[in-house]
Symmetry: C2
């Protein structure tokens, strides 16, 4: 491994001078800078992140905490999109990303400990159980944090507009003449709560009452539970003409149930998903859904985090909402 010392010897200057030359200090003559840069290239010098970190206390490394209960983790399409965006934006800003786990070596530790061990400059938290004590500990700690789709009062967050999304989808149904609109939602979280509010608000704004049996709880990303709730909906004495689903993927369960009953989408029943993942766009008919701007979610989360890292004093928590947009699809019929 070629170090600063090797360069300093070859150039006949001190290591200090080499370091300064490499880092653009002002008190080095242009000729020396040139010489140093030249020989650095010649020797194929690579700086050592660990040594640098030890002195500067900056790792240029941001941690990503990305675990969900269903353990689908990285395979969750919505979150893999966000992760991809986080990665790209971080790299564009000179940061690398590392996953935060639960262990140091083979011993279990807390997320916070792990962050400290790896000297993460900051952490992006998404898709986790935000009630988890370890997560709370991390959020309260000295390490800069940005959360996605959940807000704490001492950390910035970036949020998908869940209230607007479900409001818009419901309104879209209403605009197409539907009044008997059901909502099969995911398990109870803050996100779910917002979506229910949006749905109810849209109905209320048109002066419509929501019968309790038109609201059912299933599980995000879970085909089976959604299928079951869909069946229950269709078995109602007065079944809905339109159903909102928790997410595009889970909708597949509803679709199966609907098709098996010989019903047609959207001929006999209108539906819409949520997320706007690729799947929605390649289904036939294309699924009407709310397209979340995962690219912006990840990008802005990283930007806020880096801002917080590089300007510790000025940074006060910000709560950004990212606007999604309706993907019209072909699964809502005009009544």
């Amino acid at each position: 491994m070629v170090t600063i010392k090797d360069i300093s010897k070859k150039c006949g200057v001190s290591p200090a001078t080499v370091s300064k030359a490499l880092n653009g200090y002002e008190d080095i003559s242009p000729e020396t800078v040139e010489l140093v840069l030249q020989t650095a290239k010649e020797l194929n010098y690579t700086p050592n992140a660990a040594a640098r970190l030890l002195k500067t206390n900056r790792s240029h490394n941001i941690g990503v905490l990305f675990i969900d209960d269903s353990m689908s983790g990285l395979t969750h399409e919505y979150f893999s999109h966000i992760l991809n965006s986080v990665k790209e934006e971080a790299e564009a800003n000179g940061y690398d990303i590392t996953f935060i786990s639960n262990n140091i070596g083979k011993e279990k530790t807390s997320f916070l400990q792990h962050c400290r061990y790896r000297n993460c400059d900051g952490v992006v938290i998404a898709n986790v159980d935000f009630q988890n004590k370890e997560v709370l500990e991390l959020v309260k700690s000295e390490v800069p944090v940005v959360t996605i789709d959940y807000s704490f009062n001492n950390a910035s967050s970036v949020n998908s507009d869940n209230l607007e999304g479900s409001y818009a989808l419901t309104s879209y149904m209403l605009d197409h003449g539907h009044t008997k609109i059901a909502f099969i939602h995911g398990e109870h979280t803050l996100v779910t709560q917002k979506r229910i509010s949006g749905y109810k608000a849209a109905m209320r704004d048109r002066g419509l009452e929501v019968p309790p049996e038109y609201i059912a709880e299933a599980i995000y990303h879970d085909v089976a539970s959604v299928r079951k709730e869909t069946a229950a909906m269709l078995d109602l004495p007065d079944p809905p003409t339109a159903i909102l689903y928790p997410d595009d993927y889970a909708f597949m369960g509803g679709q199966a149930e609907i098709l098996e009953r010989g019903l047609n989408i959207p001929g006999d029943i209108s539906v819409c998903g949520y997320d706007g993942v690729n799947l929605a766009k390649i289904l036939d008919p294309k699924l009407t859904t709310w397209e979340q701007d995962t690219d912006a979610l990840g990008r802005i989360a990283v930007n806020k985090l880096i801002d917080r890292i590089e300007n510790p004093q000025t940074a006060i928590p910000e709560y950004v909402t990212i606007k999604g947009k309706l993907f019209e699809g072909e699964t809502v019929k005009q009544l």
Copy 2:
């Protein structure tokens, strides 16, 4: 930040002793070890990975190189499953994972430089263009490498059994009475080549000739190109009764074309995908496909890599093939 020195002061022993006590050296008395561990816990001591690395030259960090041309990157379901598995296995063995990018700070560098900069103990390479000069440079370098779905002669690799997979799928079609079997495959790579071989071998073993128009090239994961090739297939004067697709996701393009023509799957035409991602299992009818054991792929790749890292002398390149299995589905009709 609490360091070894803090512990040493509080315990009245030297930093050297503390370090040894923490690392299980034999020449420290049980009582001292106990005392040190106790106060370490009390002070909430966290070791510093950077300092440790600087001395030991081991980062316990493995890099992941994961980029594809279509830039779907992490959002590719097959690879996101592998990544997930890589992550879990690495963590279980006390390693963290970091993505390898193309830059150090904001300056562009090679993958190899980046690995050195971050002191990666090793790298898992998947889903990249293996002809890329930078990738080659990395493979040839001193840093331990394991490749997935591609083999170099100086590095271990873990491979999905592409030949067997397509052979098995084709045979399955044959067993169901099909003889006019078409194969729409992905763009030309080593993987593709193997799959074509498997397909042809299965046909040959039954004494069947493959008309050249029954083989077409589309693009992996690309719905549009697959749809186009499907259309061309169906327009043939003597169209196939069964079609093999490049992957489950891309099949959606074929499905759209088939359904739009009023044809039924599998009534009028039998199909199968490849990969065995979740999508295949929630489609209706369920898609017959070859289920790749992504879990094993990632896990074994990491194991081989760690083996290579921790036993540099004994490690000679190994080429492991991971067996997949047929997911029967419901898209192949008995003729």
